[in-house]
């Protein structure tokens, strides 16, 4: 291995039941470099990291680490630590109830001759370490007394003190504010300068351009490319992540693209926001309109939808439904106003695993009616059968526990749940994820049909063509805030340019027809 290389991964393959998660992926990390690892949902970023840190057992390929003879195969995080690979996760994996010094040294505390912990020595070493890394803390204080940013830096300090050659930072900035992010970057730069190789997994475009030297992009489990940051303009990066070659785009004629300016207002949000996830935004949605939310993963799309629906209770702003002021404290309030939401994480917030398909489908409808007005069994069967047929759910029977269905069919069942409530405003967050091509089209047709019936739909998808085909308008989000809207003729170029933002894309944006900022 060459002298300036810290880590190489060659031809890594990883399969999960039914899905090829990584297909011959290569990754190279040089010493003294900050290397961004990027990709949309399902691209394979976290899978690759897990192969590196020993959580996953990859099937093929080879990993080599500087200073270690032969290929490396880690079976646990401890193995990885021993060869010099340390990870700091988004949820800081330290113990908040212990002091800073203990968090730095637990498991490897300095001992006295009596085989007890030498607390004085531990505090001294901790103070020296934090001093060296320019983290201003009192090492005797409990970790929980410090902000998340400081906690993350302590986590990094622990990794660094254990002689790591490769430091993996997995989405470290998601919960930090701008000043805290800058402090983190300072620390990263000084580590880089001392020769540590840093893998920076993130989806924040601005930060990648602020602190990284190289970028590796993954898509659908394959390597798209490795680029020096200086040579990759933002729009090309977005194109690489979303799989479209910028020069080769053709405007796709949307199927149901009609302006809805004239029709009555269904939803009007005024400075609506939720602290910590989405900055206050204004949004108007008309009856019979399909509005798309677009932006990279983590830009706040789901969060915006959740704030309107009440899944995350809004902490600021006002909401009007059908021109009436409303207050939504919980999802049931939204449902009673005619809303419905298909969440993006069906496992955590969608399916009720042990209940049958029938029960899952009629659940929301039942919740609207209240506990004492139970739908009769015949009615439940009829509704369940109707929707199993409508969205083509493949199930042995309507009584099968929903957890036994495939992911795609589970998704369809939850979609059926909301269709059964006959909502006036339906939010669909990644409804086509994990669904076969035939049904994807069915769902898009369904969306257009709902709009034609006078209903409003909010459509969130990572596949831009789907949204182009069905949406009247697109709302653009970036880094947790709404940054603009697109209407009129919607094309791939306009959307990607809007998502990318930044100075080097202004020319492209102007060319493509402009972005309305709001």
């Amino acid at each position: 291995m060459e002298n300036n290389i810290a880590l190489t991964m060659r031809g890594i393959c990883m399969t999960f039941p039914g899905v090829k998660a990584l297909d011959h992926v290569d990754f190279t990390l040089r010493k003294g470099e900050i290397h961004a690892l990027m990709g949309e949902n399902g691209a394979g970023k976290s899978t690759l990291i897990k192969c590196l840190t020993g959580i996953n057992d990859f099937e093929a390929g080879e990993i080599r680490v500087a200073g270690v003879e032969g290929p490396v195969k880690n079976h646990s995080t401890l193995d990885a630590q021993k060869v010099g690979i340390s990870t700091v996760y988004q949820e800081v994996n330290l113990c908040p109830n212990l002091s800073v010094a203990e968090n730095l040294y637990i498991g490897r505390e300095p001992m006295t001759k009596l085989h007890t912990i030498d607390r004085a020595a531990m505090f001294k070493k901790a103070a020296e370490l934090t001093e060296r890394l320019d983290i201003k803390v009192d090492v005797t204080q409990n970790l929980e007394n410090y902000s998340l940013a400081v906690q993350q830096m302590i986590a990094i300090a622990r990794a660094v003190d254990m002689d790591c050659k490769v430091l993996i930072l997995d989405e470290p900035t998601s919960s930090l504010d701008d000043t805290e992010v800058e402090k983190l970057f300072q620390m990263m730069r000084s580590l880089r300068d001392s020769g540590v190789g840093i893998v920076f997994v993130t989806h924040f475009l601005e930060q990648v351009y602020a602190v990284c030297d190289r970028i590796t992009v993954l898509r659908n489990g394959t390597l798209v490319g490795e680029y020096p940051v200086a040579e990759l303009p933002r729009v090309k990066l977005v194109a690489a992540m979303m799989g479209k070659d910028f020069d080769d785009l053709a405007a796709i004629k949307p199927e149901g693209n009609v302006s809805c300016e004239g029709s009555p207002m269904e939803i009007e949000a005024n400075e609506l926001g939720h602290k910590g996830t989405i900055k206050p935004f204004d949004l108007k949605i008309h009856k019979g309109e399909v509005i798309g939310l677009t932006g990279l993963l983590g830009s706040g799309r789901s969060e915006l939808a959740r704030t309107i629906y009440g899944a995350d209770k809004a902490t600021s702003g006002k909401l009007k439904v059908s021109d009436k002021d409303v207050k939504i404290n919980q999802p049931l309030d939204a449902m009673n106003l005619g809303m419905g939401m298909l969440p993006d994480d069906r496992k955590a917030e969608g399916i009720i695993g042990d209940l049958s398909v029938r029960e899952n489908i009629i659940l929301a409808l039942q919740a609207k009616r209240g506990m004492f007005h139970q739908l009769s069994r015949e009615k439940q069967n009829e509704i369940a059968d109707r929707y199993i047929d409508l969205v083509q759910i493949k199930t042995a029977s309507r009584e099968t526990p929903i957890k036994q269905l495939s992911g795609g069919n589970q998704q369809k069942a939850i979609l059926a749940r909301w269709l059964a409530t006959d909502p006036d405003f339906l939010i669909l967050d990644e409804p086509t994820r994990g669904i076969d091509i035939g049904t994807k089209t069915e769902i898009q047709k369904l969306i257009v049909q709902l709009a034609a019936e006078g209903k409003s739909v909010m459509f969130i998808s990572s596949e831009i063509e789907e949204m182009l085909r069905t949406c009247n308008r697109m709302v653009v989000l970036r880094d947790g805030a709404k940054v603009g809207e697109l209407d009129g003729e919607l094309t791939q170029e306009r959307v990607m340019a809007a998502i990318a933002g930044g100075s080097d894309t202004n020319a492209a944006t102007a060319q493509a027809g402009g972005v309305t900022h709001g």
């Binding site: 994996n93 330290l94 109830n97 637990i106 505390e109 912990i117 803390v137």
Partner: protein
């Protein structure tokens, strides 16, 4: 800006950790209670030093149990088998000495049984991932039933059955006479503590040192603080939990011996509700039920508070014997709710 302000504040004045705050509340509560008792019941002799010492004498066993309970609660678990285990130990000791076995042998047997008992419970919790509550509840009923298996009658230890044990039980370690008082008959009552108190205090100091200065002790705090993080940092979470329950039952056995030195008998209904007293002592003493925070000295003061309540009720003489139970439960409820509120505030400030 936020970060700078926070670190400056914490560097300047030594900000109090939440653990210390809870400990201070407990100590203050004890002092207030005891002082109130001294004021109200001065005429009934509450101000004598012996009253305080009797709290220690009567609760030496509970102190040992509370130390063990603290260790288990630090990991986020609970052990409700302690009362029944003590009953089983007392019954064993009474039965064994009655049959002629040496007190030392019986004590050793009791300790070994405690270790095995704790091992089984710890294995179920640590390695089989069964809820601690269910495991120790089963343990509780198992031990209580085994007590009845040994004997359904009440057995006593007398000077005849075991002179050694009797000797230990009645031994008085006398304190300087000036701390005493002159009773109604004009005789000077020299204050004393029992052997069991010395054992209990030794256990207290030992567990304090273990929790503060050994890797095992710190691992308990880590596991309770965040199991996932502890595992990620390379600690053996399963083993730590197992050891915690072994330690708890071991200390419970020692506590059982102390308890037996006090009651000099074994019966099926002995020590019922002692687990509640132990848990209450720990919670009042600042140990969080969710784990990760706790201090044996806090638990010790919790025992003292518990004992003071009993003492106050007894001194009053007019209140029913079920009042200490109720008052302890009320205090426990108050502290549980307080902990929950503190946790909520912490979440909001994040």
């Amino acid at each position: 800006m936020k970060t700078e302000q926070k670190t400056a504040k914490t560097l300047g004045a030594k900000k109090m950790n939440s653990n210390t705050l809870l400990l201070i509340i407990t100590i203050v509560l004890f002092v207030v209670m005891y002082a109130a008792g001294c004021v109200v019941y001065a005429s009934k002799g509450f101000t004598h030093v012996q009253t305080f010492l009797n709290i220690l004498n009567n609760n030496a066993g509970l102190v040992c149990v509370a130390c063990g309970m603290t260790c288990v609660m630090l990991t986020g678990g609970i052990d409700i088998s302690v009362g029944s285990l003590i009953a089983m130990d007392c019954m064993l000791l009474a039965w064994g000495t009655g049959k002629g076995y040496s007190a030392i042998v019986m004590c050793a047997l009791v300790i070994i049984i405690g270790l095995v008992f704790g091992f089984v419970q710890g294995f179920c919790v640590g390695y089989l991932n069964i809820q601690p509550f269910i495991v120790t509840m089963a343990g509780m009923f198992f031990a209580r039933g085994m007590t009845a298996v040994i004997s359904t009658d009440q057995l006593s230890i007398t000077q005849d059955t075991s002179a050694l044990f009797y000797g230990w039980a009645n031994a008085k370690i006398q304190l300087p006479a000036f701390l005493g008082y002159v009773n109604g008959k004009g005789k000077v009552q020299i204050p004393y503590i029992r052997v069991s108190v010395v054992v209990a205090l030794a256990v207290l100091i030992l567990i304090f040192l273990v929790l503060r200065y050994t890797k095992f002790g710190r691992s308990l705090y880590a596991v309770g603080g965040s199991e996932q993080s502890a595992a990620m940092m390379g600690l053996d979470v399963k083993k730590a939990k197992l050891k915690a329950y072994v330690l708890s039952s071991f200390l419970c056995s020692i506590g059982g011996i102390c308890y037996c030195l006090n009651t000099m008998s074994g019966s099926v209904s002995q020590a019922t509700g002692l687990e509640m007293d132990a848990i209450a002592s720990c919670v009042i003493g600042g140990t969080l039920l969710t784990g990760g925070v706790g201090n044996v000295f806090g638990s010790f003061f919790g025992v003292l508070i518990n004992g003071t309540i009993s003492s106050l009720v007894k001194t009053n003489g007019k209140l029913a014997s079920s009042w200490p139970n109720i008052l302890t439960a009320v205090l426990l409820c108050f502290f549980i709710v307080l902990q929950s509120v503190f946790a909520r505030i912490k979440e909001k400030n994040k």
